[in-house]
């Protein structure tokens, strides 16, 4: 447990270094940036003691997230208590993040949604079917990887179709690709 606590402290040190690098005009240099990330990654190493790598990764990833959020808390607390925020302006202010989506794109929301809801599931299911039909892996490995493939393709298709300036043509192309994959899957079915 002591080693793990030490690891968390090392990760915290890495985050403090990142904080300094990103707050100072011009940064602290590439070496500091590399060192900060190295500390965060190395600090997770003690979790490897006695557990599998995937469990160690899961455990080691929690602390940096919580420490980072905790480092933001003083500014947030200042707002909640009505006091001045602890640091009103960063030394390197963020680009004016207006949150503006391209005006020319925003008028076709309904069309995008319709295209995305039809085309994205179609291509993801068809791709999964084609993968299952031709996968050289074992049955269970094919099925599990097809679930991940379905999620990845649906995500990519949704983001593409919701962002494009030409939703209808791209949805048509996506559905065509889905049809092709479905035919391939049917031909390869056994």
């Amino acid at each position: 447990m002591l080693l793990q606590v030490l690891g968390v402290i090392i990760q915290a040190a890495g985050l403090v270094l990142l904080h300094r690098h990103w707050r100072v005009r011009g940064g602290l240099g590439g070496g500091a940036l590399f060192g900060a990330w190295a500390l965060i990654i190395l600090g997770a190493a003690p979790w490897l003691g006695g557990v599998s790598p995937e469990r160690a990764l899961a455990l080691g990833a929690l602390a940096p997230m919580l420490i980072g959020l905790a480092m933001l808390a003083p500014d947030a607390y200042g707002r909640l208590s009505g006091a001045q925020a602890r640091s009103a302006r960063p030394r390197r202010p963020a680009r004016a993040d207006s949150g503006e989506a391209a005006a020319a794109l925003s008028g076709t929301g309904g069309a995008r949604w319709f295209c995305a809801l039809v085309a994205a599931p179609a291509i993801s299911v068809a791709a999964a079917a084609a993968w299952l039909a031709y996968s050289p892996l074992s049955a269970v490995d094919s099925m599990v990887t097809s679930a991940f493939l379905m999620a990845a393709i649906m995500t990519a298709a949704l983001l593409r179709l919701l962002a494009t300036a030409r939703p209808w043509p791209e949805a048509l192309i996506t559905c065509g690709a889905a049809l092709l994959l479905a035919v391939l899957a049917a031909l390869g079915a056994h």
Partner: protein, 512 residues
């Protein structure tokens, strides 16, 4: 003015058109799905402590750190007799054996749950319908059959899309990681809060969304795999992942005549003794009796592999209690091991109380990201002179009513023994509509105050129902946590009320 011109970066510049496109995609997805995403996220956050909630719900059930094979055998025999008497015919019966996660001996089947003491003697009901309501609200929106499970799985994919799209719309994600412009107006402060919590929690949000999606998509994959890979045989497709029950039953019969019942059940005793001897590091978490009460009844013991993320490894036993083999979740195909790890990584059930608390904090963060997304849109509309106060009021009501009604539904169900799901699903739209009539300003204090009052009704109902048992260790911990949560929310309501008074007084002074 920024120092950007003097800062060199090794990363290629992301085209602004791409960023704006991803922002649009993120906005479309987020605004359409905000309500259901928030509901799933907040109920998931609460459900991290599903085990503690179950123990709180049934404080009378005995607790123990372990049970002997004979005690478990006696419990199974008693449960079998009880099931026969009631005329129930469950397909599967699960025996929960004492473990650090659930220090109880229970027999659970579709109609009921029975509790047993450390000796395996009956100790009353172990039914935990409120826990089922909470977990089923999260993973299937209380919808019937498998529809809800698949729907929530698809929503998991949409959440992945939201997370990935949001990240792609933030090319300065790392450099702005510590930027909080809380003094730059309503919209920008919410943008920064939304972005900072989203970025810092990104690994957690992504893994939790993806693992939930994979579990939900599994049924779709089986449905696709059946015609493509197994000649249309759905059972074969299921068997590829979960094992072939017919084959297992045939193998079990080779050991000798069918299961001999008795008290304690000899097969159960022999199986647990065999497991302890051959797998001493892997203690049992549950026993599954599939095809219960038939000549082909199968016994599988789910045993812990504490160093792994897999939920359990399934060890199959023959009719004499001899070890036949394992399901391969610990050392079989990589795909099977990966799938078996989805639950623990999704639910935070891999590192004790510390990890659960971390998951609750990060889960609250994700829920907050859902709410601030809508706040940003409303703030932008207000800046353009199109204040959507009805939508603001409805959203505020919905956000606070969701956790409040989860608690109130459980409290009412506990007192008058009615199902909590209808109370919740009728109450939620009702509360949202009532909120529209209150106005956004008033709701800033009224909504959290009402939610706090609803939450505090639950520990009060628990004490009313269970008396002194409410003070037992697991129950008291949950009650204290509920009281503290309610107190924090009510404190926020009071603060909001006072700031409203201060603003009104300042206006009156300025006018005079």
């Amino acid at each position: 003015m920024s120092g950007d011109a003097k800062t060199k970066t090794i990363w290629p510049r992301v085209p602004s058109g791409f960023v704006k496109g991803q922002l649009l995609a993120h906005k479309l997805l987020g605004l359409t799905l905000a309500a259901v995403m928030y509901l799933i996220c907040i109920t998931g956050t609460i459900a991290v402590f599903y085990g503690e909630f179950q123990r709180w719900e049934t404080p009378a059930a005995p607790e123990m750190s372990q049970a002997t094979p004979e005690a478990v055998g006696r419990a199974v025999a008693a449960a079998r007799e009880h099931i026969a008497k009631t005329g129930a015919k469950p397909a599967d019966v699960y025996v929960i054996t004492p473990s650090p996660e659930m220090p109880r001996l229970l027999v659970d089947y579709e109609d009921d749950a029975l509790a047993f003491d450390a000796a395996g003697a009956p100790a009353g009901s172990g039914a935990h319908e409120l826990t089922h309501f909470l977990t089923e609200l999260h993973y299937e929106l209380n919808l019937p059959g498998t529809i809800g499970f698949v729907l929530v799985g698809v929503l998991g994919v949409l959440l992945v899309a939201l997370i990935v799209g949001g990240a792609l719309a933030l090319p300065r994600m790392f450099r702005d990681a510590f930027t909080l412009r809380l003094d730059r107006g309503r919209r920008l402060s919410r943008v920064d809060i939304h972005n900072r919590i989203a970025v810092w929690g990104l690994p957690f949000h992504f893994v939790v969304a993806l693992s939930g999606a994979i579990m939900g998509l599994a049924l779709i994959v089986v449905a696709i795999a059946a015609p493509v890979k197994f000649g249309g045989d759905q059972l074969k497709a299921m068997g590829a992942v979960y094992g072939d029950p017919a084959q297992a039953a045939a193998e079990a019969r080779r050991a000798g005549p069918p299961v001999a019942t008795g008290t304690p059940e000899p097969r159960i005793v022999a199986a647990l003794q065999t497991l302890a001897r051959e797998r001493p590091a892997n203690y049992p978490i549950y026993l599954a009796l599939n095809q219960f009460g038939t000549p082909d009844e199968l016994l599988t013991v789910g045993a812990a592999h504490g160093e792994r993320l897999i939920y359990t490894e399934g060890y199959r036993f023959d009719s004499a209690g001899g070890l036949m083999g394992s399901d391969g979740y610990a050392d079989g195909d990589i795909g099977r091991q990966t799938y078996a790890s989805m639950f623990r990584i999704h639910a935070g059930a891999f590192g004790g109380l510390g990890v659960k608390i971390a998951y609750v904090l990060l889960g609250l963060g994700l829920s907050f990201v859902c709410t601030t997304g809508v706040d940003i849109w409303l703030a932008k509309a207000a800046e353009r002179g199109r204040e959507a106060w009805r939508i603001q009021a409805a959203w505020t009501s919905f956000v606070w009513a969701t956790p409040g009604l989860v608690a109130l539904s459980c409290a009412i169900a506990m007192l008058v023994e009615v199902p909590p799901a209808p109370i919740f699903w009728i109450g939620l739209p009702l509360a949202t509509l009532i909120g529209v009539g209150q106005g956004a300003q008033r709701l800033r204090w009224l909504a959290p105050l009402t939610a706090g009052a609803m939450i505090i009704s639950l520990p009060l109902a628990h004490v009313w129902r269970h008396g002194a048992l409410a003070l037992s260790t697991p129950a008291a911990a949950v009650n204290i946590a509920l009281v503290l949560a309610a107190a924090a929310i009510i404190a926020l309501a009071v603060r909001n009320f006072r700031s409203r008074e201060t603003a009104a007084a300042a206006q009156a002074y300025a006018a005079s």
